[in-house]
Every structure is written in C-alpha cells, then in structure tokens.
Symmetry: C2
Subunit: 291 residues, 2 copies
C-alpha cells in the first residue's frame, strides 16, 4: 500500500522503523512526471530490497533562472498510480520550504566534474543535484539508490560524492530506456511536438553512428564527433549544445577513443534541451593460433 | 582500553558493531596536540555516551598555503595517554590519503557563513572544515559531537551544515577553557614565547572590556569595538586581524548589541594567529512593584 509522505519528520520516523526492523531500503529519487525509464529503476529497486522509497521533488536548486522550473511537467496523481502498481512502499513528496528552509546555505561542489558537459551551459545545476541527493540520502538512508544512465554526468557526480563523503549507499546505474525508434525517454519529451519528436531522433542516430565508427576501427574522437555533428546539423530544428567523448571517471574529453569512453551530447530541439549518451565499446578481435 | 584505528575500513567495521549493539556514540573531532579544552569535550562525551570516539587528524584541506600545516604541533603519544586516562574507546588517526584519495573533489560550501570573520583571512578554511567534519560524521555516525566555543565560527558552520544536510547528529558546544589569567587554551599557544603568552592576554582582556561595557549599558557596537581595539593596540606584539560583534546565526555584524550577540576577534601575537570570543549578555533589570 503506497504511502505518501510530505514532511521530513514523518519520513525520518518511517525510515527509523524500517531500520529498527532491519529492512533493506531501495531508493529512486525523481522529479516526477514518471515514465518507463523511472519505472525500470523502481522495478529493480523492488526486486532487490525489502522496502522501496521513491521521492518526487522538483528541485528548484538545480534549475537555472532561464530554465523550465516553473513549467516542469507535473503528473502527481498518475505518478502515484504507477508507483502503486509497482508495489512501492513510500512516495516522499516534500514542498520546497521543507527541503530548503530559511537560512539554508550549504552547497556541495564537485570541482572538475560540475563544470564540464551539461555543467557548462547549466552552471550551478550539479551543485543543486548534489545537495538535494545528499539530503535525500541522509533522510531515506537507502542501502541502494538507482539512477538512469541517460543522466550520465549526474551518475558520475553522485558516485564521486558518495565515495568522497564516505556515504553508505550503493549506487546502481541502469540502462537508458528508449522509445521504439530510439528516443531516450525523458519527462522533457512532453514539451516536444510530433514533428519535434521525429527530429529528436537525431540524437540517438548520432550516437549509433559513433558506435558504428568505433566498430569500424575509427579511434579519432574529432572524426567521430564531426560525423555526429553532421547528423544533428542535418536536422533543421536541432541546435547542438555540445558533443563530447569523455573519460567517464574524470569527464575529460579524450582524443583517442577507448572502450568505456562515453559519447555524450546535448541538443536543443526547438526550445527543448535534450541529452543522451552511449558507452562506446571497442571490439577486441582475438586471433587464436592453433599450433 | 583505548584502540587506535587508522583505516576507514576498520573504523566502519567498529562503528557497525557499536550500532548493532545499539551503543550511543559520542564523538570529539580534533587535530591532536590535546589540551584541557579538548579534554573537557572528551569528559562530557564520556559522561553522556556508551562509546567515545576521538579523531586526531590534521586536515590539510583547512590550511591555507602560507599557514602552519607543516609545523602544526603533533604530540600523538601524549594525546593517546591522555585519552586513555579519560577512558576513551577509540582514537581514529587516519593518514591524509585515506581521507582524501586520488580524485577526491567534493567541497562543502556554506555561503554567507564561510566568508566572514576568520573566513576573510583564511579563504577555503571553512569548506575544508565542513568537508572533513561531514566525512568524519559519516564514518563515525555519532549521536552527539562535541565542539569548543573557542572555535565559534566553526561551531556555527557545523550546526548549519548539520541542519541543512539533515544529518542525524546532535551538536554540543562547550565553554572555552582558559588558563589562570584568561588565555583561551589552543594547540597554537605552543608557538608562543613566554613574553608572547603574556601579550596574548590582551585578547581576553578586550573581551572582558566588551562585556563590562555592555553591563554598563553601552549598546553601540562601534564604541565597544573601538575600546577593544585600544586594548589590543596597547600591546606591541599584537596585530589585529579582525574585531567583530555579530549575530551568531548569520555572522552578520550588528550595530546595536543585543543579548546573545558574540564579540569575536583574531589577533596575531608575533607570528601566531590567535582567536577568541565571548557571548555578550545584556543584563535585564526587573523592577518588581509591590502593591
């Protein structure tokens, strides 16, 4: 039976009871407007834990002043219905003043990670993410927290924060869930017109192009990014924010592609900023000589 | 029996056992070179908790490049002897690479609190303090952590961080312990010559002057700071870093003194930077009319 909790006092009390009963806790932090991407995380959490907590909180701290905080899609009743069907125990849905009371002034800054990729065009975004996730971890005290690969930089920032601050939480990152034609599911897809949804496929196409080139033995990152850019630029409503191929630990751009490097991009389709990424796998061909 | 632990893995394991046994944990974070100020915290922790953990870690992150990190006094064997006498359970004494491994990049920033008072002449100091205290809290998981009022701004930064990040630790601040003539105990007093120790009394004298003026009905902060400054400047080896009277929540300077405001100062005596403070109490005179 899904229970909705809105206050910090109540969530603390509930978690205390879970802990006293030695229940393991799986946690999926979200901003609501849930889709199959979120639900894949929830299902994994359900499989692996005694109790599942999902937070729905549109975190003002991670939006820039000209971003879409005020129009971010909200479908709370539908979200609860979905979570109920997945047998989630608690949805934590606090209001902003509960999370950020008067006088709040603590930021969590991950130097070298927060200013790259999306951080360049969204300054302050990742300190907002880090602060709210840290607070939610401290409140929910999960054994495992689940994140989607779609928000690649977010997963790196959070894994680093967990290691750096010695937090007792296991971070699991699950694959991006895509529509039939490859568009990565995102709450922001709700902003797209039907034409834009088709245009938005260029992100996935460019990622597939990157992997195809790597499969064909191309290692030069500039060459790959060039071809990715062509695919995006062929689409009239698309405007590149960035295309990068990076080391997934440091988020530094690489010049020669190795297995495990990540091709990531952000593209505006009309007014909507979309992100996507792929982990590039370099095929290793083994020659076996029989003697 | 005092146990020395140096690795993160070992302290985590030990704390896990404490928690499984539902022992309450009192924690005193220090940089070693222990004196009666530290010991007053340890004794209080001993009184109030099942287990007492003291950390000794000279935190490189909270020292500026031209500060005294390399010569900070170290008296580890003597410290352990003292802690043993106080019946402390664990001294956690990690090396810096254990606390800050390669790739560490997380800072905890308390805007509006970190750049005032000592933060002005020690940029980065309080983010270093906040980061290490947060890490130690996450490792030691104390019920109560004990700090000295001498490090006034540190206590405010930590209390704010604990509230902002929803940490489950109770912060207790105990009074400054002073020498016979009023000098606040500090590990850095070890740097002072005999003459300088006498000169250093000007800090306490100026604080007493502030309280005396408040007792006499003076409310004008500038007037009080002026008189405090005169006392410091009368001492030839003393050089004022700052003299402030502040609201203890916001650390903003006040112009009219109210009960609970804090007079704080930092003064160089020769090459040694000393700090001290006093909570100013405005006397309330009650007139009782008998009818």
């Amino acid at each position: 039976m899904l229970q909705t909790i809105t206050s910090i006092e109540d969530i603390k009390q509930r978690i205390k009871t879970f802990k006293e009963n030695q229940f393991s806790i799986g946690f999926v932090p979200t901003m609501g407007a849930l889709h199959e991407g979120h639900l894949s995380l929830v299902r994994q959490a359900r499989k692996e834990n005694d109790k599942v907590v999902v937070s729905i909180f549109v975190n003002p701290l991670q939006f820039g002043i000209n971003e879409d905080f005020t129009q971010y899609p909200s479908t709370f009743d539908n979200d609860c219905e979905l979570l109920s069907k997945e047998d989630v125990d608690i949805v934590f849905n606090p209001k902003a003043p509960e999370i950020y009371p008067d006088g709040f002034c603590t930021s969590v800054v991950l130097e070298h990670l927060e200013d790259k990729l999306c951080g360049k065009s969204r300054p302050g975004h990742f300190r907002g993410v880090a602060a709210v996730v840290l607070k939610l971890f401290n409140l929910v005290k999960p054994d495992v927290a689940y994140f989607g690969q779609k928000d690649f930089q977010q997963t790196i920032v959070i894994k680093r924060m967990v290691a750096d601050l010695n937090l007792d939480v296991n971070i699991k990152v699950l694959p991006t869930i895509r529509g039939k034609e490859g568009l990565a599911l995102s709450s922001r897809n709700a902003y797209l017109s039907e034409t834009e949804k088709k245009d938005a496929l260029c992100l996935y196409k460019s990622l597939i192009k990157a992997q195809t080139m790597v499969n064909a033995g191309v290692k030069n990152a500039e060459e790959i990014k060039g071809e990715m850019g062509k695919i995006i630029n062929n689409c009239k409503s698309a405007k590149i924010d960035y295309i990068s191929i990076v080391n997934p630990k440091t988020l530094e751009a690489v010049s020669e592609v190795r297995s495990g490097n990540v091709a990531a991009l952000a593209v505006r389709i009309g007014k909507t900023r979309l992100i996507d990424n792929i982990i590039l796998m370099v095929l290793i061909v083994l020659f076996v000589y029989s003697t």
